[in-house]
């Protein structure tokens, strides 16, 4: 057959390569989606078993405050009240966000408005290094510095929500700061010029104009930090005291969803109620991280419309 005709009728080497490349890259992305779906399916399957197989009341699970799945109460029902962990998790998350936000926003303003040169030369690397420090190292410092100091000042064991807040505050500080910096940098320059031209001082410009315009981005950063704090496991587990009790105050031993998971899942048998109850906690963790995601999207949408 005519070689030219032959070549025209079949896809070229280049076209075959193109198809193969596109297919391979598509398979990679499909794999990621598959992993996400599988994570949700597996965790939900095990986590829901507590409610469907072991017939635990969902409301009891969320609102009762005694957590000892191996023991049965007076009515013969296992005691799986996750409230202490839920309170602990939300407690450390909100407190650390409350402490971290003003400092992070202050640092971001310093880096974008007051001294960009110092900001990019000194603070930027400092923040990148803080992000890089592994969480177990934060936990170790919490254990060997923060806990003894709290014990010394407030009495008690030193373990508890306050120690967890301190550790998490330092952990989420760089996350919130760098996202706040991005938000403030995105505020158009002519906003500032307009305010200065009206006779506003630098602080008035920052407070009345730049911060207002950058607010959606800053909030996104704060929620990101909260999501990170909520999901952090080891550093918190090392300093929170790991007592599944409702915390009496900020310095009494407490626990979070993640701390119970890390210390518990290895000591229970797959398929038992103790184990299923832990998977329910994991499911709760998963749903909360999803909720944080939704909040971030919602803020993003709100910010866009302005």
């Amino acid at each position: 057959m005519d070689p030219i005709r032959e070549a025209m009728l079949h896809p070229s080497r280049s076209a075959r390569l193109e198809r193969r490349g596109k297919l391979i890259s598509f398979l990679c992305i499909a794999l990621i989606v598959l992993v996400v779906v599988a994570i949700f399916a597996f965790v939900a399957w095990h986590g829901l078993a507590t409610f469907f197989e072991n017939k635990i009341n969902l409301w009891d699970f969320l609102s009762k405050s005694v957590w000892s799945p191996a023991v049965k109460d007076a009515h013969g029902n296992p005691e799986v009240g996750a409230l202490p962990m839920i309170v602990g998790s939300f407690g450390v998350t909100f407190l650390s966000a409350i402490v971290a936000t003003p400092i992070a926003v202050g640092a971001a303003i310093f880096m974008t408005e007051i001294s960009p040169r110092w900001g990019s030369k000194v603070l930027q690397p400092v923040i990148e290094l803080l992000v890089g420090i592994p969480s177990v190292v934060y936990g170790f410092i919490g254990l060997s510095v923060v806990v003894p100091v709290i014990r010394h000042v407030f009495g008690g064991t030193g373990f508890g929500i306050l120690a967890g807040t301190f550790v998490l505050f330092v952990m989420i500080l760089p996350t919130v700061t760098s996202m706040a910096v991005d938000a403030l940098k995105a505020v158009p320059r002519h906003y500032r010029e307009a305010s200065l031209a009206l006779g506003g001082t630098r602080w008035q410009t920052i407070y009345r104009v730049v911060l207002r315009a950058g607010m959606p981005g800053i909030l996104t950063g704060v929620v990101f930090g909260m999501a990170r704090a909520f999901g952090e496991a080891l550093a918190v587990q090392m300093v929170i005291g790991n007592a599944s009790l409702l915390p009496q105050n900020l310095v009494s031993p407490a626990s979070t969803l993640t701390s119970v998971l890390t210390s518990g899942i290895g000591n229970t048998v797959m398929g038992s109620l103790e184990n299923n109850a832990l998977w329910s906690l994991a499911l709760l963790l998963l749903l909360m991280s999803l909720a944080f995601n939704l909040v971030i999207r919602w803020i993003g949408k709100k910010g866009e419309m302005k």
């Binding site: 990679c28 310093f110 007051i114 990148e128 890089g132 420090i133 090392m238 963790l285």
Partner: protein
Amino acid sequence: MDAKRADKLMTGVLYAVAGLIIIILASLLGYILWQGLPHISWHFLTSPAKSFEAGGGIGIQLFNSFYLLLLAMLISVPLSLGAGIYLAEYARNNWLTDVVRTAIEILSSLPSVVVGLFGFLVFVLQFQFGFSILSGALALTMFNLPLLTRNVEDALRSVSFDQREAGLALGLSRWETVTHIVIPSALPGIITGMILGAGRVFGEAAALIYTAGQSAPALNFGDWNPLHVASPLNIFRPAETLAVHIWKINSEGIQPDAAAVSAGASAVLIIAVLAFNLLARWLGNRIYRKVTAA
């Protein structure tokens, strides 16, 4: 208070806040290095850990950390390259791409302990890999994939569109344009991101406790056959990493010198992460200079 006074005051406050952050980092690094460096010796870095007596080292944990990192990067780098290429070059603007992006976003925000538990369920129990390096590497891959993918996508997108048009105008297919033109010019960004990802993986512990395990059996460093049980290269042996070791001796260890060992190990971990950071900057700049002839 008049506006000028308020301005001066707040400027002072902002300087103080910036100083505070620097002090926090300096005291963190200072504490770790000051506590840890005196314990670091050749013996500490190479000898195995001891469970009940003082004087143990971190040799096996250190090797495990690097080996696990290598395996995890071997799996996640090609996958994230493929996924990043698809998102940057092929993905159309439709609902399917939206779903994919949302999935990646969710995966990147999942708590690492949940990723670890999923790895435990699937790789350790379902696939019966047991507590092993392989399970650990796969869990780390899941943890690392979304961030690396986003990094690859961003790096590819930052390449100007003229470059692609030039490639296509020369008769290259899209795939050839990507592999021969776009990837080489995006290489500095990709490599910087990969090294930073490696630093993150190196310090990760929560995803490994229930996948790579919490025990470090003795290794025979004279035996490099990957099929032997005591071989360092065996991927089916449990492998406690440095970060897991720090957690373990602090939460349930009974060594008399637990504080000293964890201070030393923390210092090694921090130094490694710092090295990854510096390497990422240096290599990124160097490759950038090389490919752009700047």
